[in-house]
Symmetry: C2
Subunit: 233 residues, 2 copies
Amino acid sequence: MAKKKIPWEEYLEKISEMLSTLSPEQHDILLQHVSAVKFKKNDIIYKEGDLPTYLFCLISGKVKIYKEGVGGRSQIVRVLGETEYFGYRAYMANEPFVTGASAFEPCIVLKVPMGIIIKFIQENPQLGWFFIQKLARDLGQSDERTVSLTQKHIRGRLAESLLFLKESYGLEEDESTLSIYLSREDLANLSNMTTANAIRTLSAFAAEKLVAIDGRKIKFINIAGLENISRIG
Amino acid sequence: MAKKKIPWEEYLEKISEMLSTLSPEQHDILLQHVSAVKFKKNDIIYKEGDLPTYLFCLISGKVKIYKEGVGGRSQIVRVLGETEYFGYRAYMANEPFVTGASAFEPCIVLKVPMGIIIKFIQENPQLGWFFIQKLARDLGQSDERTVSLTQKHIRGRLAESLLFLKESYGLEEDESTLSIYLSREDLANLSNMTTANAIRTLSAFAAEKLVAIDGRKIKFINIAGLENISRIG
DNA sequence: TGAAATATATGTTGTATGGCACAAAAATAC
DNA sequence: GTATTTTTGTGCCATACAACATATATTTCA
């Protein structure tokens, strides 16, 4: 895990949306149990099969949620950015983790024991509603993803992944460069293809002037074109 | 939709788990707004893109939740049996349906306007917790399914589907015949393959004495063998 | 009951994509 | 600053699976 405890006070504003649903007493209890942890690039936050114990909120950095499939092939099922919560689903389903979480880049994470969160939910419909909405949105996305990954062809899947990363992490100040720098392998694991095919297909997109590549930097040139490739599959 | 309203009183016991979370006042309100509907085989209950308005509970019959992908190819993402709730996710996520629902066989469905359910959830943490657990379990399954459908080979996917149907719908009195009779096309749509390949692969399983086929009746002969095929992919 | 539509079955062919090999480039370690 | 490891880039081959074609069986319905 290679984690390191750090002070948490300055990060509370990032979870203000959730805090606002809590009663004053709950708020106090939460402050007594919250902690902050730092993860380095590629650190594992939790592993498939582990028992869930904490609610995490990503304060800064980027995280991938992934699953190991047949023959050690890894599939990234979700990516998380600032202020996103994770790690709670398995606890709520009363299951071990079916996915793992690791840091794309250096991260700061707030964590709260799940037992406390569950108690709050039992007392507080507002907080329950907060998680219901998150779970409902994630489930819709997961179902969409199932069909995209199984039915679209390689080009469609890669185009979709690039657009998905753009939605998740946004662009840099130039309004066209993707603000996450992924390895070709991660791009492949996100798009359900081999690394070699991710490289090949990304090169093809560059040759077709859909994107420009500079190492791991990806710049969008023709977004409408990518959207079209993603749509037709 | 081809639906037909019918009396609902006798079906209340099927939703007793949910009813038990309600206050007496909520219970009364629910009874004023619940209704029951009958669907014939292959009737559509709701379509992808429709706006969600009701919480459904399947009283009898079997339902598929599916999504149309590229080139009209349909993917079954979930199957539902007696006492399962559906139709609520999209409303909770504040989205149109991303999947459709239709009847595998004649069905009776209880329905309650979602507006009422949401109001109850706001007042009642118990009911919120009920839906949180359902959503959390479904999301885990959906993530598992994403990886299975993308990474396993045809034989692994079909074996998994057969075992999945066994879990969902159980066996007949002989303790070995699957108690749902699906068309080869539905079996294909469940397993992410073409109809021709579902037919071929099922025949292969029969030739290998893993199952016995009699029309749409599927009898398990070597469950351990199927589990092995599903596991190795 | 017979005709039409639909579902099942099987063979043939084409192709998208995985697997492997190897080189070049880049990052990391020593 | 050189050596080692990791990542990126390409080519070639093998193959799993879709697409298509056609035949037979089964169901539907007039």
